[in-house]
């Protein structure tokens, strides 16, 4: 049985309108979130926000300098641990382990670890490092972030190195270069933009993470003089302050939200831009 053309045209039109609306909903949500964060966070940000230590609720002034520094320290340390190890694993997967048993086992594990919720990573580092040490520490927080970063870096490195044509590897080896030189000197150089982008995206992802820090770095109102103690960080501060009943703390939480969102979005957009540039070349 044929349906009349007018019905078909009408249902087509309504679906078209619906799908345009749906796309608009996605964009509107992003715009709404960003606008709120910008509007509410902007009022909290001033010179003191970056330079002063937090104050108790009700006491004017005060900032989150300790949390800013703590987040930076832990992210840098996590990157220093996570990127080399993850990238080496990516090299193995792309260069040596394409068909080996170890390769496919690791590939499966990497994908699985990418799916592990970040709070479970925090739980794992808590039982593995914090319990034996007997206290929360910034080191544990950095390790938790590194664990989160490892599979992401390994996966993107494998993908990026896999894009490099085999002829490049063969010509390097034919010239008598040892395998490590062929990989690090030739293949890495060819895949440079992709690798850098992967690292930037991984850093951006863990910098905004809260859940893995809850039971590892915890939080602290003091200056992070050593990472061997509970360490202040922006994301857990947002969580604690937002859940508090004090308006000035909530205000500070919005300021921290703006800072972390801006940081993460700028890094992500930089990475995107790099990819776009590379593609144009």
């Amino acid at each position: 049985m044929r349906r009349p053309a007018s019905f078909r045209r009408l249902s087509d039109l309504s679906i078209k309108v619906l799908s345009s609306l749906a796309a608009l909903v996605g964009l509107a949500a992003l715009a709404w979130i960003l606008a709120v964060v910008l509007e509410r966070g902007w009022n909290a940000i001033n010179w003191e926000f970056f330079t002063a230590l937090p104050t108790p609720p009700g006491v004017a002034g005060g900032g989150l300098s300790n949390a800013i520094v703590g987040t930076l320290f832990m992210t840098v340390l996590a990157t220093a641990v996570g990127v080399p190890v993850g990238m080496m694993a990516g090299v193995y997967l792309a260069e040596f382990g394409r068909t080996t048993k170890l390769g496919s086992a690791v590939r499966f594990t990497v994908n699985m670890l990418m799916g592990v919720p970040s709070i479970i990573v925090g739980l794992f580092v808590y039982t593995f490092l914090v319990l034996p040490a007997g206290h929360f520490s910034g080191y544990a927080g950095a390790i938790a972030l590194a664990v989160l970063m490892l599979p992401v870096v390994a996966r993107t490195s494998e993908d990026m190195l896999g894009l490099v044509p085999n002829a490049l590897r063969e010509s390097a080896l034919a010239l008598g270069a040892p395998r490590w030189k062929a990989t690090l000197g030739i293949v890495f150089r060819a895949a440079k933009t992709g690798l850098v982008t992967g690292v930037i995206l991984a850093v951006a992802r863990v910098a905004g993470e809260t859940a893995p820090l809850l039971f590892t770095a915890l939080n602290s109102p003091y200056w992070p003089s050593s990472l061997n103690q509970p360490t202040a960080n922006l994301t857990v501060t947002i969580f604690n302050y937002a859940m508090s009943p004090y308006p000035d703390w909530q205000q500070a939480a919005w300021g921290a939200s703006l800072l972390i969102t801006a940081g993460v979005l700028v890094t992500t957009l930089t990475a995107r831009f790099l990819v776009g540039e590379a593609r144009r070349q």
Partner: protein, 298 residues
């Protein structure tokens, strides 16, 4: 040498995965021994009397996830249709890029926005409207508090939208143009081609994409913790507050002083770990089968 060093780093991942399992099992052994398999079905959660069960938290994890999947997948299929079939390329790039940018927003920001902006909005406009029109269903009864299972599910839907998105767009553009053109050539409308050709061609890929989004949603912590309301009840109403496994961990872990309490919380973590592992395995097997069938490209 070089090969050995890289293999070592690669093998580290296997060690890491085993260590995850070992640590979680070892630290929940107390609770595992005490409650056995009954842990999964018991509704009890009483730190004072030392009775613990996962049922309420599993409920609080599964229901918002189901809402999120339902919303995100529907929305996503329609958006993918817009991006691939309807929008001019420049607009498609802007809209697609914007939606993928949602993935870069840290989950705690979704939580802040959810608690301070979206939950009041739900309480004022959406929930009363739902209650008025669909209030005869037990799903939409109860006081409109804003926070609760429905709000958590909707925010989760927004969060996983971009994750489902990337794969879905690939799936939609993977359909050979000639098949679609054949459809158009027969005089079909855009919607008919999408429904009868594109979706049918890409349905397996869509399912794979859903699995990946599902894995995300199940373990999401911060956004859910902010808005789910942290109540242990199991209620038919979607307006009522609940508690997911992840939000229970985030809220209670640092307060747990009793060894058994701590052990029960770690066991909750083990349940969540098992859940995400299962989803990952299913997704991977599915995608692998798909790849074999279509000969790459995804």
């Amino acid at each position: 040498m070089f090969r050995g060093a890289t293999a070592l780093c690669a093998a580290l991942f296997l060690v890491l995965a085993l260590a995850f399992l070992e640590e979680l099992v070892r630290n929940s052994s107390l609770s595992l021994g005490q409650f056995g398999a009954g842990f999964l079905t018991s509704r009890a959660w009483n730190p004072v009397t030392g009775e613990f069960g996962a049922a309420r938290r599993v409920f609080g994890t599964v229901v918002p996830t189901a809402i999120a999947m339902l919303l995100a997948v529907t929305l996503r299929v329609v958006i993918a249709l817009f991006l691939v079939e309807l929008a001019p390329p420049i607009l498609a790039r802007v809209v697609g890029g914007g939606i993928e940018l949602l993935a870069a927003v840290p989950s705690i920001i979704f939580g802040m926005w959810g608690l301070f902006v979206f939950a009041p909005f739900m309480a004022k406009h959406v929930q009363p409207a739902l209650g008025d029109t669909l209030g005869f269903l037990p799903l939409f009864q109860g006081p409109p508090m804003g926070i609760g299972i429905l709000t958590a599910g909707m925010i989760l839907a927004l969060m996983i939208l971009p994750f489902v998105s990337a794969v879905m767009r690939d799936v939609f553009s993977m359909v050979p143009p000639i098949v679609k053109e054949a459809g158009f050539g027969m005089g079909s409308t855009t919607w008919e081609v999408t429904r009868k050709v594109t979706v049918r061609y890409g349905i397996r890929g869509v399912v794979g994409a859903c699995f990946l989004g599902l894995g995300r949603a199940v373990g999401e912590t911060m956004a859910v913790t902010f808005v789910i309301g942290n109540d242990h009840a199991i209620s038919a109403s979607l307006f009522s507050p609940g508690n997911s496994i992840a939000s229970a961990l985030a809220n209670e872990f640092t307060e747990a002083s009793e060894p058994l309490y701590l052990s029960a919380l770690v066991e909750l973590g083990l349940v969540l770990f098992g859940l995400t592992f299962l989803i990952q395995v299913l997704a991977q097997l599915w995608l692998r089968a798909l790849r074999k069938q279509t000969g790459g490209g995804l």
